[in-house]
């Protein structure tokens, strides 16, 4: 019997993942990470709070599987939270879930699962894996496209994919809740949330104010041509494509076009200036393990919630960078987010937008 550690969060997806794997005949072990939270806010985080832990433990009890908690507070703070703070300091809009998947879920937790003797680690991500006829593992979108979470998994390589299972990727989300009900799991009615897990339900700006107050330095708002239009309250308060809160008198709506960290300037412009045709992504991971060296067409997502859009992806000489040229101009191309490229169902790879 193969052993699989299921990464549990106290949510419905990971609990159904555990139930399905047990039904499929695996020896299932539930593990949960104790993540970092600001002191005094342990109960307000979305994920992995004592309440969430009690739920996950109860699910394990109902499914009759062992359950262990691993302390990840230190490593989470040093990698994910620090990544978040560093990204904003550079004028980017970081997606810490990418750092978490890379460093915490698929390194720290995976290492623990393997040290425990597991053959696989499973998560409740909506995604699928299949082995192609060359023995390569392909990462596919979930069957329910509207819930597809393959985007955050673009960091996985062949070595990690041989150890990964995603049992719920084949099911539509409403069916997942039904399955949870049928197993009698208390997570069946638990509400999903999309906020970052360590923000304690707060706005990211308040988190930054508490933990990196030095980032809130006012500076000039300028147009592309350099004309000074007003003052901003700190670059971290704004994100690309943002319209609200600019406080610049104008007859036409103005949008954030970019940030210049070295001059502490916020660049704004009209809607027509927002659209860009190109981006460069670095630290590209190729899921198949082989970098493409010829340009290829793909559907690209420039953030987790974005719709895929057709582009030409051109690998640059340096190997782990690509130039992405979109067929139609894209708004909201934001440095620090990931650009992930698909061909049909298959996730080819992804990198960080520079």
């Amino acid at each position: 019997m193969k052993k699989v550690v299921v990464a549990m969060s106290g949510g419905v997806d990971s609990s159904v993942a555990a139930a399905l794997l047990k039904q499929q005949g695996f020896e299932v072990i539930g593990m949960m990470l104790r993540l970092w939270s600001e002191s005094g806010k342990e109960d307000s985080n979305r994920c992995c709070t004592p309440d969430a832990m009690a739920l996950a433990r109860r699910v394990a009890g109902i499914l009759d599987i062992p359950f262990y908690v691993i302390d990840a507070k230190g490593v989470f703070k040093d990698t994910v939270v620090q990544y978040f703070l560093d990204g904003y300091a550079r004028g980017e809009t970081p997606n810490p879930c990418l750092a978490c998947n890379r460093q915490i879920r698929w390194r720290f937790l995976l290492d623990h699962a393997l040290a425990f003797g597991a053959d696989f680690m499973a998560t409740g991500h909506y995604a699928r894996v299949v082995t192609d006829d060359r023995g390569r593992i392909q990462l596919l979108r979930a069957r329910d496209r509207s819930k597809d979470q393959s985007y955050v998994l673009h960091v996985l390589n062949q070595e990690k994919l041989t150890k990964a299972l995603f049992p719920i990727g084949d099911y539509p989300k409403p069916e997942i809740r039904q399955i949870a009900w049928s197993f009698g799991l208390p997570t069946a009615s638990r509400h999903d949330s999309q906020d970052l897990c360590f923000l304690a339900g707060d706005d990211y700006r308040n988190f930054l104010k508490r933990n990196a107050a030095g980032m809130f330095v006012p500076g000039p708002i300028v147009s592309r041509s350099g004309e000074v239009l007003g003052k901003h309250t700190g670059l971290v308060n704004y994100t690309i494509g943002q319209r609200k809160g600019l406080d610049v008198p104008s007859s036409v709506p103005l949008y954030v076009l970019g940030k210049n960290v070295s001059t502490n300037t916020l660049v704004v412009g009209e809607q027509v200036e927002l659209g860009l045709r190109e981006l460069v992504a670095y630290d590209v991971n190729w899921v198949s393990g082989e970098a493409y060296n010829e340009p290829f067409r793909a559907e690209v997502k420039i953030r987790y919630t974005a719709k895929e859009t057709v582009a030409l992806v051109t690998p640059l000489e340096i190997g782990s960078r690509v130039l992405i040229r979109f067929d139609t101009p894209q708004r909201d191309i934001t440095a620090g987010q990931a650009a992930v490229f698909y061909q049909g169902e298959v996730l080819i790879g992804g990198g960080i937008i520079s």
Binding site: M32, L33, P66, F116
Partner: protein
């Protein structure tokens, strides 16, 4: 699975279960009732009081049955401290830094909300509370002294007779938490010299959910659970007859078999300690080597997350515990670990292995074979 966590709890002896069963369905009466059903149930409770009295060498009415060792500690501390102060105005409590939370939390509450003052006695590096430390701290305003007989985390056995003598010389009440000790050490209260002594059933093959408190006649004490006057007015609530019967049977058996059980576990425990200290680098024994419970082995491993080690051990089929483990992933070394002078790096890596009547040499060798690699694995995840 191999069970090596007897200090946490023990499986119930079949003879105890057999003694209990008739009292669930046949002799189910309320001991306080006038009718025959009540009389039969009361007789069983009286008989249990007598069994305790003959083993503890006290009077039957000096025994109060409670729901657990923790409740006995609560009754002893809160009940006697308040009554003592009422009688004499004594307002100080002396207790050690190595007590079970059922004692220390109760004392902290008495300090915070009931106006008592507390002196927390330091242990030596082996966790031992020396009699002269008590002598230096005791005074005429001391209401009660509480020092545990044997420590659950590190196995150290304290010099109870000497401490009791000091308390008596000063006219101060002495309570000892004997919950862990009773499984292997004599509990003759006359010989020990204690005024109050807590016991718990599930540490010596009795059921969970039953405890007792010895209260020397004449000890000032208030009930903390008030109501119908059961247990000499010291603990209200319809008595848990089958569990009281089971508890008495478990105590009767431990009294008969005490030496045999100790002789069984001690060599296995010594083998465990010797081998682990030899084969595992950066390991140390915690607690006193000689003045120690015969079934108890506890260690500190440098640079190990104790919780993670327990997880690996469980996966490998061995059930143990740790002074720093936390089921919610927020481990901290216990007070006891810091109290014996361990740094956080050592204190987080505590492992407790406690043997019982069902432990055998094959299990110990199996454990010794598996442990070194698991410690190596756990150390891989150490963060600097």
């Amino acid at each position: 699975m191999i069970y090596l966590d007897h200090a946490a709890t023990t499986p119930m002896d079949k003879r105890v279960l057999d003694a209990m069963l008739p009292y669930f369905s046949d002799f189910f009466g309320n001991p306080s009732s006038v009718h025959r059903y009540g009389q039969l149930a009361e007789a069983a409770v009286d008989s249990a009081h007598e069994i305790f009295a003959s083993i503890l060498k006290c009077r039957p009415d000096e025994i109060v049955f409670t729901s657990c060792g923790s409740e006995s500690d609560n009754l002893a501390l809160r009940g006697a401290a308040l009554a003592s102060r009422e009688k004499t105005g004594a307002n100080w409590i002396l207790t050690s830094k190595t007590e079970h939370p059922a004692v220390s939390k109760t004392v902290k509450q008495l300090e915070k909300y009931y106006g008592f003052q507390v002196k927390w006695l330091d242990s030596d590096k082996d966790g031992l509370i020396k009699a002269d430390v008590v002598e230096k701290a005791i005074g005429d305003k001391t209401a009660i002294v509480s020092v545990m007989y044997a420590n659950n985390e590190i196995g150290t056995v304290n010099p109870i007779r000497d401490i009791a003598a000091i308390c008596h010389n000063h006219g101060v009440l002495f309570h000892t938490d004997a919950v862990q000790a009773a499984a292997y050490l004599p509990v003759d209260v006359a010989e020990l010299g204690v005024d109050l002594m807590s016991l718990g059933g599930h540490k010596f093959y009795g059921p969970k959910g039953i405890g007792a408190l010895y209260v020397r006649k004449g000890t000032p004490i208030f009930p903390i659970q008030t109501g119908g006057g059961q247990e000499n007015g010291l603990r209200a609530g319809t008595q848990n007859v089958p569990y009281i019967v089971g508890f008495a049977e478990a105590l009767r058996l431990v009294d008969i078999e005490r030496e045999e059980r100790a002789a069984h576990v001690k060599p296995l425990r010594d083998r465990l300690i010797g081998s682990i200290l030899e084969t595992i680098p950066d390991s140390r024994l915690t607690g006193h080597m000689e003045s120690r419970l015969p079934n108890h082995a506890s260690f500190a491993f440098k640079g190990v997350d104790g919780n993670l080690l327990l997880t690996f051990l469980d996966g490998a089929g061995f059930a143990c515990s740790s002074g720093s483990a936390c089921k919610t992933g927020n481990p901290e070394p216990s007070e006891v670990m810091y109290g014996i002078g361990l740094t956080r790096e050592w204190g987080l890596g505590s492992l407790r292995v406690t043997l019982g009547v069902g432990t055998n040499a094959r299990q110990i060798e199996s454990f010794l074979d598996a442990l070194p690699e698991l410690v190596v694995n756990a150390r891989k995840f150490a963060r600097n």
